[in-house]
Amino acid sequence: MSKRKAEDTNIEMASGQEKISPKNNFNIGLAEPLKDYQKLIETKVQVDEIVDDEVIKNNFEGIAAAARGVIWQLLFTGTDGDGGVISESQQKASELLEEYKGDATFYDPWEYNKWIITLRDEVLKKELLDFWRNTIVKKQLGPCWSRDCDLFDSDDTPPVEFYAHAGCTAPFAASLKVRAANNELRASEASDAESSREAPEGEERSAERSADDEAAFTGVFDAVITRDQPLSEYRDLMTRFVLTDVIVPDEIQQASVKKIAKAAQDVIWQILFEGNPSQEDQDKAADLLQEYKTDSGFYGPWDYNEWIVKLRDEVLAKQLLDFWREKIVKLELGPCWSRDSDFFENDDDVPLEFYNKAGCKAPFNPPADT
């Protein structure tokens, strides 16, 4: 345990100390019982700082006891008075009871569950049947259970019996019946199914690897890129043999990437320098070159950076100035640097020199601090 734990606890506890107050100190008036009650809960129970749990518990018990007293008073004293007063105090009692039950479900259902039975008996004895029907039964203010409280679960017995008085039934009785029927049905189905369990479909990926995955895993495949569709063929190779979900040993994956890169270099060289490349050929070569450069930026730019210099020199020697200006310079197809690859950082060299040929300049400004 760290030393800090104890110190922090002490500091935070100190601020909570003043929250302790003797139980008999909780006053709920008859004028606005709900407001008084809410204020007490807010200040003595629902506190955000860390207060000793015992303190919170005691505070809630005290407030709950006060609330029970007031509800009892509102309901059972002065019932001989005139009707207006009665309905008003019943209204207050109903509101407070509802609020108190809501808190009891969270803080302490046990006390509530015991007391609400005595309240019910008194209500029935005094024949406050409206209050029984319209408040306790209708608003389900009987004992807390799994429907309204996380201290219970479906193992626990629902308080059906509590409501079965004065011609009432629990509002949730019907849904319990449906559930019970469902459970029986399921139990019988389950026992039928026990013997004949089927494999769940589509859950597991097949253990067999496809032929492509196998090739990716071993690195045994032919990398062929032709002049017709170089870009899509290159992409297809990458997708099948590099971008797989199979875990491939790193050196094999690197070799596969190199193999496909070599094929890309060869076909670009072929397109540009075997005969006179048409505009369409040049577009194709540039498209592939761009994609290949992007991948290099990720998988390792060193080969590309070396080879692109050779390509440039050949392009200039073969006087393919359009390709030089419109593709290599404009599309920034020179060596990878920190702009296109996470292999580099800001203090690495910027490949300005590369572009200073045939009257061109790098299409980007050098970083301000160089």
């Binding site: 749990d53 469902n182 597991e204």
Partner: protein, 304 residues
Amino acid sequence: MSGLRVRGLLALSATALGAFYLGSRTERLQQSSDVFPRLPGLPTFGTVSAASLVASNVNLTATPSRISEIMKFGFPGLDNVRSHSDYVLSYDRRNRIPHWVFEHLTAESVAKNDSVDRSKCDFKPDESIHPFFRSQNTDYRKSGFDRGHMAAAGNHRLHQKHCEETFYLSNMAPQVGQGFNRDAWNSLEMHVRKLTKSYSNVYVCTGPLYLPHKEDDGKMYVKYEVIGSNTVAVPTHFYKVIVGEAADHKLHMEAYVMPNKVISNDTPLNVFQVPPETVERAAGLLFFDQINRNQLASINGRKV
């Protein structure tokens, strides 16, 4: 001259031999005092009430022997491990809920026991957790979520204290109440308890998951709510990975993942069965690491 040299040699070798024997003796002494292997568990301190009669085989403190019994098949992870008298927990300080809890159930430990009174159990903050990382009742109140047990109270009925220790808020995670914690999830807990009828020992690991989902932009995100002033994480799913040890010592595994939302009552449990390795990948943990999967007799009811 040579006599002097012999004497020097003798003195030297005597010193060396003496040092060697002294060293090996102290090492032996140290080992014998350390009978139990060191376990990465911190017992939480609790007082034992002597008022009630205690069955002789009930541990009331987190003894090393009980912990190694529970953790027989390996630790899923070692972050903030705490041991209680009847379950072991790894606490996720960032999310203020467990990473995992581990339990070992027998028919006896899940049997109805009149000496255990649920109504005496109270959700309480775990004082053994630094205040920065502690969840409180206030975080859960009116959040719309239950204080959902990871180690279920109904699994620990040998003694009142075992049950009470499952009510520490460090053993809770926010769970949807009706339709999940108090229903479907509870059915799964009951199912696990029922397994003690077919297996002499049932080991179960339970914990939260934060699973990604694809949003409209086609990207995957992990998104989960946090509640209260302590920002307690609301997991998207929960798992249970279970191993039952049959009388013939064969091992049977089941794995479940359930979404933390309302699940209709008529959904059968086996809908939620998943291959155990998918849970391991998602949780970043290895369950029952000490068992070779090929040695299992069955996984999710199917022969291996």
